[in-house]
């Protein structure tokens, strides 16, 4: 089995993307609502990744 190497950021963004798509599809009814909710989730995920990343960086000193 070949081994894939992704950075922490790439892994987090990939996971955020697939989860956002699934959450958008499964929780909303119309296509525009699904798209909007998916993008909103992705924004929150990415914001959290960067926010927590900076928090850990600053907290670590």
């Amino acid at each position: 089995m070949p081994k894939m190497g992704l950075s922490h950021l790439e892994t987090s963004l990939l996971m955020a993307l697939v989860i956002s798509v699934v959450l958008g599809i499964t929780t909303k009814k119309t296509e525009s609502e699904q798209l909007r909710y998916g993008l909103k989730c992705l924004g929150y995920f990415v914001g959290t990744v960067f926010g927590l990343g900076w928090l850990m960086y600053l907290g670590h000193g």
Binding site: M1, L14, V18
Partner: protein, 139 residues
């Protein structure tokens, strides 16, 4: 009979309608949506679950075994096993082809394990969505 009991009975009495859809949604991620003509949704769900599962495997993630012990171990291992099993065909194929990576320390393996679990959890959401569409609760 209470409202909840009536609703449960009504859902159970139509199991012949939604049962095969949910079973297909489990076996093939997005399959239930495809069957009901929701091709784009089905394709997107299939792609998301498969990408997550394949990335998890390529990162040599750990597939959980059923293991009981203290409460924490039971929740992690049995929950992980159920989530892995929820992947359907990809999981069964991986097991059949002998995929069995050890649970070793390391961030790549750890991420891979999370991807494998996450793929199963996403497929559970897809199954619930297929159920709601099949029972007419959702368009």
């Amino acid at each position: 009979m209470t409202e909840t009991a009536k609703r449960i009975w009504s859902v159970l009495s139509t199991a012949g309608k939604w049962g095969p859809v949910v079973a297909l949604a489990w076996i093939i991620p997005g399959g239930g949506h495809f069957w009901m003509g929701k091709r784009l949704r089905g394709a997107l769900l299939f792609a998301c679950v498969m990408i997550s599962f394949l990335v998890g495997m390529l990162m040599h993630g750990y597939l959980f075994e059923w293991q009981t012990g203290d409460l924490f171990t039971t929740i992690i291992y049995c929950g992980g096993y159920i989530a892995n099993l929820a992947n359907g065909i990809p999981y069964l194929f991986a097991r059949w082809l002998g995929y069995s990576e050890p649970d070793v320390a390391g961030h790549m393996v750890d991420y891979g394990t999370k991807f494998l679990v996450c793929a199963g959890l996403m497929n559970i959401l897809a199954m619930v969505d297929a159920f709601e569409i099949a029972t007419g609760e959702k368009d």
